[in-house]
Symmetry: C2
Amino acid sequence: MTQEIDAYRPVVGDRTVSTIEEAASDVADMHILNINSTYRGGGVAEILDRLVPLMNDIGVKTGWRVLHGSPDFFKVVKKFHNALQGDDINFTSMKQQVYLETNEAFSTYTHIDHDCVIVHDPQPLPLIQFYEKEQPWIWRFHGDFTQPYMPVWQYLEQFVSEYNRAVVTMDTFKRDSLSIPQDTIMPSIDPVSLKNTELDEVTKDKYLKKYGIDRDKPLVTQVSRFDKWKDPEGVIAVFDTVREEVDCRLVLLGSMALDDPQGPKVYERLVEQVEDRDDIILINDENDILTNILQRESAVIVQKSLREGFALTVSEALWKQTPVIGSQVGGIPLQIADGDNGFLVNPHDHADVAKKIIYLLQNPELRQQMGENGQETVRQHFLITRQLHDWLSLIHQTRQHQS
Amino acid sequence: MTQEIDAYRPVVGDRTVSTIEEAASDVADMHILNINSTYRGGGVAEILDRLVPLMNDIGVKTGWRVLHGSPDFFKVVKKFHNALQGDDINFTSMKQQVYLETNEAFSTYTHIDHDCVIVHDPQPLPLIQFYEKEQPWIWRFHGDFTQPYMPVWQYLEQFVSEYNRAVVTMDTFKRDSLSIPQDTIMPSIDPVSLKNTELDEVTKDKYLKKYGIDRDKPLVTQVSRFDKWKDPEGVIAVFDTVREEVDCRLVLLGSMALDDPQGPKVYERLVEQVEDRDDIILINDENDILTNILQRESAVIVQKSLREGFALTVSEALWKQTPVIGSQVGGIPLQIADGDNGFLVNPHDHADVAKKIIYLLQNPELRQQMGENGQETVRQHFLITRQLHDWLSLIHQTRQHQS
């Protein structure tokens, strides 16, 4: 189960792997350390779980430490995270104390003699204060901090400004006022993971049967958390218009974020809306293989979000040669080239979204062409190998700045 | 909040601290690494959370890494742990695979260049297989593996035998057939933690009032999980006999282990037994401060277990100058000197247990003398400073063996 770069050769080709190996050789004498705050659950842990073993496999000694925090600490940093994304919070000195003490305690037994330290998100951000900084430190932020709640940002900025660089996930997430250099490294999907790898027909049949999904009619699917910003009710409204023209099924696959108090309400309303309908299938589950199958077997994937971070679900579907109709928000326009591998839409213009879905359902050849284009988009820009290469280059560059 | 050795000077005296500092100087050039499988919850995390920062404070660079495991992994190792303590389990090759793969994955990004590695319990035990062993490795087992389920033991023994030493918590927990040297380091309590530190009257009053505990009559208390092996129903039976002679109250403070399916049943039966009784107070809570207060304010502490590991609750109470009446099982006889700081009893002889409680309730001067003796027992043998010293000596000794 250890990640190996060779597993990616059939997917990205030997030349890409060689480029990565070359980039790795530039930093092969370095010892890198990643620090985040969880080894399981959420996108950050998911990517480190893949990237860190790969870094080691290509010869760059890379460690991964996880901050030890109490439940109180995690409540506090969740609030800080929300504040960075714009929420007003009650910013007490008690919160600051819990935040600092947790980081200080961890620093007492976490000995850093590495050549580069990469700190992820706000939880371990102040760690830098408790070390004699002898190497470049990089702060990787996975969210959007361009419209923060200012009292919290001003407090956190004092730590950020001690870093050598900050790395964000999209160019538009850079923050003008920040005094240190900012780079962009976009997220990526892993083509050899269970969520994205090819699957055989037996597995597909087994899962679709288990979840009661018939393939007698074309499937239109949205894979997204049940949350108002993903607008699942809007998707149903659009689907009703589509159904006037084309006989098809809608699948809504999602789950509820544990920390979203409104999730269950959104889901309950959906349950009411779809009961007595055999053309809408609502699935509340987190299952990588089912996600994989639906992204492969659907005629069209929809991502009708009202707000988004990066929306990697788009790349996941494109990779499987399925065209995606997605909103012009967050990272979606970076992944969808309008008319080439899907369509970009205004999520509030339901008539237009329905029109695009109908158009694709009625044009199987176009779907196939767009599907091929979509896979190529992802191969070029959104695979983990690209992200791996980006990190190697950035680390190399950071070292050059240093010396 | 960082642990500092100076905090223990008023408790154990400068001389003990000097002895520790001397022992530390013998290994001050070493870099030690602890590896366990959780940074929170359970006794192992609790002790590492104290010991590791202390080691660093006295000048011994000591790290602490936590194995990254999936929920499946934790289910498997929980079964292994139970098997080591004697349970038959279904020992499949799938379980072995999950066990090994988790350890292997962790090894890919956990770079060990330390001078001594201490691995705790069975979860990270096979890690040793994935390293070129260039330093002494010590396996610390916190349970009793003298009556294991043999198929699991034979499997685990292949890993244990690669270690330089094993360290158990009691001499009787050593396993004759094991080929490597075995040492004993007994557990300990931390006198400066919230659970054991002195408290002011205002805090005591506040908590006792909050939990409805009146101090108008002497308190007899057992602090223990609600679990059949702690025999809380037997304690109630004993208390009924005591009440025929002395007017007093019984407090049963405990909680249910999350992984014990029988806990709720034991607790429900207790709830039924004590309703309509104002002389028995049943509290289902885990609260360090309340535990501290009850161990201080009770006239007698009872530990009427039918089976035990070490039972640190006994030392916790003795430290607070409260005599303890405890069963002759597990580690209890190591802590109670019969007639000196409490009484050792046969937990099945209810008449005798009642007799001892009555005797203590009727002799306040004896209680005071025993209380003073008890605190001295703990000061000499069961404080964290002793455990710290034991570890320093063992590490030093291990190095001497090596060279």
